[in-house]
Symmetry: C2
Subunit: 174 residues, 2 copies
DNA sequence: CCTGAAATCATTCTGGA
DNA sequence: TCCAGAATGATTTCAGG
């Protein structure tokens, strides 16, 4: 597995979450290392898959996506799982799809232009083989969105699994 | 309002979605403009709020968040909306919270360490004033996550509103 | 993990279409 | 109004220790 994370890695992850385009020079200042060291850590974090992706959040409304909805779908997944997955991948309106417990087998977050296009979308998915039910909730507004990985929480989590050593602990082991 | 978007802006937005740390030099090459022009467009897109945020996606599992869940909450929002919002903001486990139609008034995406911490979290929110019901669905896996703004869809959307002109259209108007 | 040099990149300013 | 080129300053990468 990925080796060990320390608090400096967590700070790097935290800063990158707040500003994915932060400069190495700034990161280096924040964590107290040289620029090449920070760069190396970033590479390693990507290679380990802890950093998955750099991206940019946009205002979808301004791009013409006025409707956002959660669609809960019940799929007879034993037989139709593969074709369901293929359909999900193909539909541009489906931004995310989760397999979940509870009523229905999947939750999809859907973004579309207007009620007409949503209606079309819904009738489309209802025609997929294995889809037994759908239940749609419109998003009226988003109250909260955070990418903040509370690093004290993470630290506690990882100490449980002994994946993490603090910087001081590492030092004293040498 | 924000002025006009053209296909070059959409390409920029698309590229930044795929790689939030892409270099201006690369962007310039992709869209066929000079670096200063691309830089100017990016600034404008940020100023208009179309680009909201640069961020980094991480593998939360590797950071010790094994449990992800959707929690649907019914809140007596008329009286208790303000205190509900304050609680939502304070809880680090709540990554996102949406006001929605349908059963319950809100959907929250929650990330936490293990079932024990989820249980504590759930009993905490059930004690908030105005919270009448909760319904939790565990996330078993995420089948899809895309940031792809299909630019042909966007283009169609925006043409509806006449916000967008293609590059060629603009040229021929001069 | 650091330093220091070399290469690359971003920004600003200026003028042109 | 929007864009390109040149100069300056900042950043990143690479080598060696």
């Amino acid at each position: 597995m990925s080796g060990h994370l320390d608090l400096i890695d967590l700070k790097i992850i935290e800063s990158l979450g707040e500003n994915g385009r932060v400069r190495l020079s700034e990161l280096a200042e924040v964590v107290g290392l040289s620029i090449p060291s920070v760069s190396e850590r970033m590479d390693k974090l990507q290679k380990n898959g802890i950093i998955k992706h750099f991206t940019t959040e946009v205002d979808e409304r301004q791009l013409g996506f006025d409707i956002q909805a959660f669609v809960r779908v019940g799929v007879d997944s034993s037989k139709h799982y593969k074709s369901f997955l293929e359909h999900v991948m193909k539909e541009d309106e489906i931004m995310e799809c989760f397999s979940v417990t509870g009523e229905g087998s999947h939750i999809m977050r859907v973004m579309t232009h207007n009620t007409a296009s949503l209606e079309k979308f819904l009738s489309r998915i209802q025609s997929w083989p294995g889809v037994m039910s759908t239940n749609t909730s419109f998003v009226l507004s988003q109250l909260k969105k955070t990418r903040k990985i509370a690093s004290d929480v993470v630290r506690a989590n990882l100490q449980d699994r002994q994946v993490l050593l603090t910087y001081d602990e590492k030092k004293s082991r040498r």
